[in-house]
Each structure stands twice: as structure tokens, then as C-alpha cells.
């Protein structure tokens, strides 16, 4: 009965909300009227008894008592709000009760909705196919979803607050976390015993927090490894029979007793077998390069000397551009793997020499600036159409399918260049204007640039402790 009353009161309050001030005035008016009536009755009673002031005080005391009782009921109700019903009061007190009930309801309603939304979000995060972990700026785990727990063997509650790099101790993981912008993610095998490869991607999240996404890429890694193994094994197996064929062709080409009409075909066969050998060698080199993603440590490499000999080789070709210039900083060396650098630079110079007509020019440059060391090869060849440029470093990609057979490249040169540069932290930039020529530039990071070493100094890396 009383509960329904309260509801009625509150509904009334809700309904009459827009006319708030009037309602408030009504409440006040009611209260004022009550006081006046009480005082009038008191005064009348006082006059009747003969003591006006005593009557008035009595009336005031009664009124005060009434107010105190109301206040007590309200306070009692507020304290035991969850179990007891709101007091049934009229006038100003009734308005107060109605307001409180209304506020209370509104709060409850919002709380319920927030809890629902929160539960929904948490369910969605838990069901995400990828693992997600939230880290604070100290790299401590604040939250993770179910998939992350499965992938990383995290234990709910016990592992919260633990530093993630204490659990994932792979050296390159900590390096990635401190500079997530440097790459698009990192693939590691957190537990060396299991053949599980996980890909981690970190992104800034909230205030100084990091969201770490974890994905199981074991399948992709395995397929990739299989493909690499296949290419490496197949090239290796093809090489031995090819060596035999090339050997016989070599002998036959030098044989004077052979029918002169067969000379042409024999010569062509010899050339093609040489080309096949070159392709297989490049494939093997590429598969070796792909086998590791680690940065090459290496030692100081005499790049100026390398460029000089590459230029000489290019000039020694049967057909070569009439002018091959070299503008080289002779004191600038590079820290890296000499064999790999040689193969990358020679691929670039070879390409330029091959694709530039005899009347053209090739310019080699090797210089240093604040960004690091740079090597560029500019030619005045036919140039490359813009749509081919992004795909040039793909294996066997041909900008001009007809040309490949004449020049006899393996189609792997730029792929090798790209991988070599990648493992030196360097980048390849290709610029080309069709009909005017192309420029291939390698940008090596500043950390790899070094000044020339005197011949007698041995690289410190070489001394074994």
C-alpha cells in the first residue's frame, strides 16, 4: 500500500517536473499555510487559556516536533533505502521524498545499462579470435582476453600486474615493444620447445597504455618454411645435372671436328645453360637470404673499392654504355656483410649496364649525409612505367616480358637487392621517368656508415674473446 503510494508520488513528481517552480511554490505554500494555521491555533488557545505566549510556544514546539519526526523518517528511510519503503509524507517532505526516489531510480537505470554494456563488451573481447592484452606504461599486464591466455599460458588474476617482457623473454620482443613503430609486428616462437609461432602487434591505447594483439601464425610460418625449403632443395637438386650438361656443351663447343651447321645451336645451348646456372645460383642465394630475418652485424666493408671494381667489370662487358661515371666518397665505408653488399651493388650496376643503350650514360654515386650512407645508380635507359615500380622487387617480375630473353637476367636480381638491404636495415628507392632513365638508390642507416679503416687494423668483431 505504501509502496504504491510512493510510486504514485514519484510519478506525480516526474509528471509535474516541467512546472518545477510552481510545484515547489505549492509545497512551500502548503508548509507556510501549516505554520500559519498552527500559530493561529496556538495563539487562539493561548488567548483562551489566558497566556498568549505559552500558547504560541506550544504551537511552535508541536510544529517542530512534527518536522523532527518527518526528518527522522526520511533519514531512516535513506539509510535503509534498500529494505524499507519511502515515508508517506505530505507537503514539502513529500516533495523531497519524491525527488530522492526519482534520482535513485534514474541512477539505478543508468547503472544497469552501463553494467549491461560493460558485460557485452567484455563478452565480445573474450570471444575475439585474436589474443588481446592491455599493458600500462611499465609494460605490466592490466587485462587480457581468453585467447591471449590460451596462447601465452597466462593465468587469470595471478598474472595481472606482471611485466609482459618477464614472461616473453625473447630478445627481439623487448626490442619491438620499446619501438613498436619500427615495424608492423613481430613473429616469435615464445617457447622454444613448441613449434608455435606468434605474431605480436603493439599499438598505443588510452593514456600511456599499450594494446598488444597476439595471433597464432604457426600455419603460415610452416607453409612459408616449406616453400623456402622446397625452393632451396629443388635448386640444389637441379644444379648437379646442369653442371654435367654445361660441361659437355663446353667440350663440344671447343671441338673442331664437329659439323659446322651444329655450331650455332650448340653455342645457343651453352648460353642458355649458363643462364640456367645463373638463375639457380640466384635462387639459392635468395633462399639463403630469406632463411633469416636477423640484421647482419658484419664488419667494415670497403664500398669505394667495390664500386671501382664494379665499374671496371661493367666497362669490360661486350656491350656497355659509353660513359660510366663514379662520384665516390673514398673515406666512407659501410658496416655489413661484404659478400651480400657486393651482390646487391653488382646487381644494380649490372642492371644499369644491361638496360642502357651503348650511347647512354650511367652515373654511380656513393655519399653520406645526416640520414646515413647512400648509393645510387642513375642511367639514361628506357625507364620503367610507374605501374611496374612497386612490383619490381618481386621474384621473376618482368616490366617488359620481351626484353628478358635478349638480356638473359635471372629475374631475381632486385629481389636479392631488396633482401640484402632489408638485412642491413636499408631501403631501396626506385625513381624512373619513361624514356629518360631510372635511378636506383640504396639508403643505409647512419649507424652503418663508418670511416675508412687503415689496412692494418683488424675489425674488433673478429677477435674472439
Amino acid at each position: 500500500m505504501r509502496a504504491s503510494d510512493a510510486r504514485f508520488v514519484s510519478k506525480q513528481a516526474l509528471v509535474s517536473q516541467p512546472s518545477g517552480p510552481v510545484q515547489g511554490l505549492g509545497g512551500w505554500g502548503y508548509a507556510l499555510a501549516r505554520v500559519t494555521i498552527a500559530l493561529a491555533i496556538g495563539a487562539a488557545l493561548g488567548l483562551f487559556v489566558g497566556n498568549f505566549w505559552a500558547g504560541l510556544s506550544g504551537a511552535l514546539a508541536t510544529y517542530l516536533g512534527f518536522q523532527l519526526v518527518q526528518l527522522f523518517r526520511l533519514e531512516y528511510w535513506l539509510r535503509h533505502r534498500n529494505v524499507s519503503d519511502p515515508p508517506d509524507a505530505g507537503g514539502l517532505w513529500g516533495d523531497v521524498v519524491a525527488q530522492v526516489v526519482r534520482l535513485h531510480r534514474r541512477k539505478n537505470f543508468h547503472k544497469k545499462r552501463l553494467i549491461e554494456i560493460f558485460r557485452e563488451l567484455r563478452r565480445a573481447a573474450a570471444e575475439m579470435p585474436d589474443g588481446a592484452i592491455i599493458l600500462n606504461h611499465e609494460r605490466e599486464i592490466l587485462w587480457f582476453n581468453r585467447r591471449a591466455a590460451e596462447l601465452l599460458n597466462l593465468r587469470r588474476s595471478a598474472d595481472l600486474g606482471l611485466r609482459i617482457d618477464n614472461l616473453l623473454r625473447h630478445p627481439s620482443f623487448a626490442g619491438y615493444l620499446s619501438d613498436p613503430e619500427s615495424s608492423r609486428g613481430i613473429v616469435i616462437r615464445p617457447k622454444v620447445v613448441e613449434d608455435v609461432w606468434l605474431m605480436f602487434q603493439a599499438m598505443p591505447f588510452g593514456e600511456k597504455q599499450t594494446m598488444l594483439l597476439v595471433r597464432d601464425v604457426s600455419r603460415e610460418e610452416r607453409i612459408d618454411a616449406m616453400r623456402r625449403d622446397f625452393v632451396a632443395n629443388a635448386s640444389h637438386e637441379l644444379r648437379s645435372p646442369l653442371t654435367v650438361i654445361a660441361g659437355y656443351l663446353e667440350t663440344l663447343a671447343g671441338d673442331t671436328a664437329i659439323d659446322p651447321t651444329l655450331r650455332g645451336p650448340l653455342e645457343e645451348m651453352r648460353r642458355q645453360s649458363q643462364r640456367m646456372t645463373a638463375i639457380i645460383d640466384d635462387l639459392l642465394e635468395l633462399s639463403r637470404l630469406e632463411a633469416s630475418d636477423e640484421q647482419v652485424k658484419g664488419e667494415p666493408v670497403n664500398v669505394p673499392g667495390m664500386i671501382a671494381s664494379l665499374r671496371k667489370d661493367a666497362l669490360a662487358r661486350e656491350h656497355h654504355p659509353s660513359e660510366i661515371s663514379a662520384e665516390v666518397d673514398a673515406s666512407l665505408w659501410l658496416i655489413g656483410d661484404a659478400g651480400l653488399i657486393q651482390s646487391a651493388l653488382s646487381n644494380l650496376v649490372d642492371n644499369a649496364a644491361k638496360y642502357t643503350p651503348d650511347v647512354g650514360r650511367v652515373a654511380l654515386r656513393w655519399w653520406r649525409d645526416s640520414a646515413g650512407a647512400h648509393f645510387s645508380v642513375a642511367d639514361t635507359g628506357s625507364g620503367i612505367a610507374a605501374e611496374h615500380i612497386p612490383r619490381l622487387t618481386e621474384r621473376f617480375y618482368r616490366a617488359d616480358p620481351g626484353r628478358s630473353r635478349q638480356t638473359g637476367g635471372s629475374g631475381l636480381g632486385l629481389a636479392i637487392v631488396k633482401h640484402v638491404l632489408h638485412r642491413h636495415g636499408a631501403e631501396l628507392e626506385i625513381r624512373s621517368v619513361q624514356g629518360q632513365g631510372s635511378t636506383f638508390t640504396c639508403h643505409f642507416p647512419e649507424a652503418r656508415a663508418t670511416t675508412a679503416l687503415a689496412k692494418s687494423v683488424v675489425a674488433p668483431e673478429r677477435i674472439r674473446a
Binding site: 606482471l162 611485466r163 617482457d165 623473454r169 630478445p171 674473446a465
Partner: protein
């Protein structure tokens, strides 16, 4: 009020120091784990380059040990830690010593791997070593995990694996002796294999040591040179342990 804030600040800085040095020790552990994995792979796959790389990179383990050691000494000198904090510092100093020794054993394996790579591989392709290596890698991983989580129960579980490693070591040793008796030409290779197995067994022992330090940190109880069963029963009845 001000003094209270200050002391809070100092203890927070201290906590950060402690946590940082622990993280450094664990990242050193991560590097040793990689070294171990690479050394075993180099041997099993006959990859001489990888073996050489492992041997060459050992200096980094040594450098990490020196730097962490210095930091621990600095914390001891400037903060004078007590109770649990002191145990953590003492344990870290011991853990990095064990990690450094593990690194040395890995260097040894890498060196032998690069030498064995040029020789003919046995019919079983070092299957036993591969298996033993996996168990030891698992032990090292588990030991470091329990150190990261300060989980004494997990540490004791890992320490139990050491017994299996010891048995396996014995069995491979017997096998090698048989090979040597059958074919004297294989003695050299068998001796090298013996060295590798011995190194793996030692790494297992060092991993067990790390587990014991974890128990020491968590329970304040030195459990070295104690049978694991005794340790477990003692930890289960704390009134008998005098804590």
C-alpha cells in the same frame, strides 16, 4: 605528512629499481634460452654457421652478467634492503651466475656443433640429444617463468624434471661407450657428443638451482642440497619449518 610522502616516494623508487634489475635478469635469461635453442639446433641440423654464432655471442651473456651484478651491488649499498627485498637481490645475484654458466655451456655446445657439422652424422641424427635438449630447454623456460611469477610450486615441479635429465644423461653415456667399443673410429665423435650431453645435463642442474632460489625468495627457506620430497613436505607443514 611530508615525511610520509617522501618515504613513500623512496620506497617506490626502490621498488622500481628492484623490478628493473629483475627484468634485466629475466631478459638475460631470455637470451640464454635463445642461445640454448640455437646451439641444440645447430648440432642437430649440422649448421656450422649457427654454432659459430652461438659461440661468438657468448660475450653478450657475460656482459649482461657484469652489468646486472654491478646494479645489484649498487642497490645493496645504497638501499640496504631487508627481508624479502634482500632475498630477491641475493637470489638475482645467484640466478645470473647460473645463467652465465649456462651461457658458457651453450658456447661449448655451439663450438662442438660447428666442428661436428663437417663430419658425417650418425644414423640416429642425434635424436637423443634433440630430445634431451628439448627437455632441458623446457626446464630453463619453466625455471625462468617461475622466477618471473615468483611461483614456488611451479619451481618445485620444474626441479623434479632434473632427475629425468640425469637419467637420460646416464643412458646416452652408456650408449656412447657402446659405440666407442664397437667402432674405435667413432671415438672422437662420441667424445664430442659426450661433451654436449654433459653440457646439457649441467644446464639442467643450473635450471634446478634457479628453481631453488625461487623457493628461497618465496618461503625464505634455503632448499639447496635437500631432497625434493623433503622440501615439499616441509613447505606443506609450515609449523615444522620454523617460519
Amino acid at each position: 605528512m611530508e615525511t610520509a610522502d617522501l618515504s613513500h616516494h623512496i620506497s617506490r623508487r626502490f621498488n622500481e629499481d628492484l623490478e628493473r634489475v629483475r627484468t634485466k635478469a629475466l631478459s638475460m635469461g631470455g637470451f640464454v634460452e635463445q642461445q640454448l635453442a640455437k646451439a641444440v639446433t645447430a648440432l642437430v641440423d649440422g649448421d656450422s654457421n649457427m654454432g659459430e654464432a652461438v659461440a661468438r655471442d657468448d660475450y653478450r651473456v657475460n656482459a649482461m652478467e657484469v652489468s646486472i651484478d654491478e646494479e645489484c651491488a649498487r642497490i645493496l649499498a645504497t638501499r640496504a634492503p631487508a627481508a624479502g627485498d634482500l632475498r630477491v637481490i641475493v637470489a638475482i645475484i645467484k640466478v645470473i651466475t647460473d645463467l652465465e654458466r649456462m651461457g658458457d655451456e651453450c658456447e661449448k655446445i655451439g663450438y662442438i656443433a660447428s666442428r661436428l657439422a663437417s663430419q658425417e652424422r650418425p644414423a640416429d641424427k642425434y635424436r637423443e640429444i634433440k630430445h634431451l635438449g628439448r627437455v632441458v630447454e623446457d626446464m630453463v623456460h619453466g625455471a625462468l617463468d617461475s622466477f618471473a611469477r615468483m611461483d614456488a610450486d611451479a619451481a618445485i615441479k620444474v626441479a623434479h624434471q632434473d632427475r629425468w635429465v640425469d637419467e637420460e644423461y646416464e643412458s646416452i653415456q652408456r650408449q656412447c661407450i657402446t659405440f666407442m667399443m664397437e667402432d674405435p673410429r667413432s671415438i672422437r665423435r662420441a667424445l664430442d657428443v659426450m661433451w654436449v650431453v654433459r653440457a646439457l645435463e649441467r644446464i639442467g642442474d643450473h635450471a634446478k638451482n634457479i628453481c631453488e632460489y625461487v623457493v628461497f625468495i618465496v618461503h625464505g627457506k634455503d632448499v639447496r642440497h635437500t631432497r625434493l620430497e623433503d622440501v615439499e613436505s616441509e613447505l606443506r607443514n609450515p609449523h615444522a619449518s620454523g617460519n
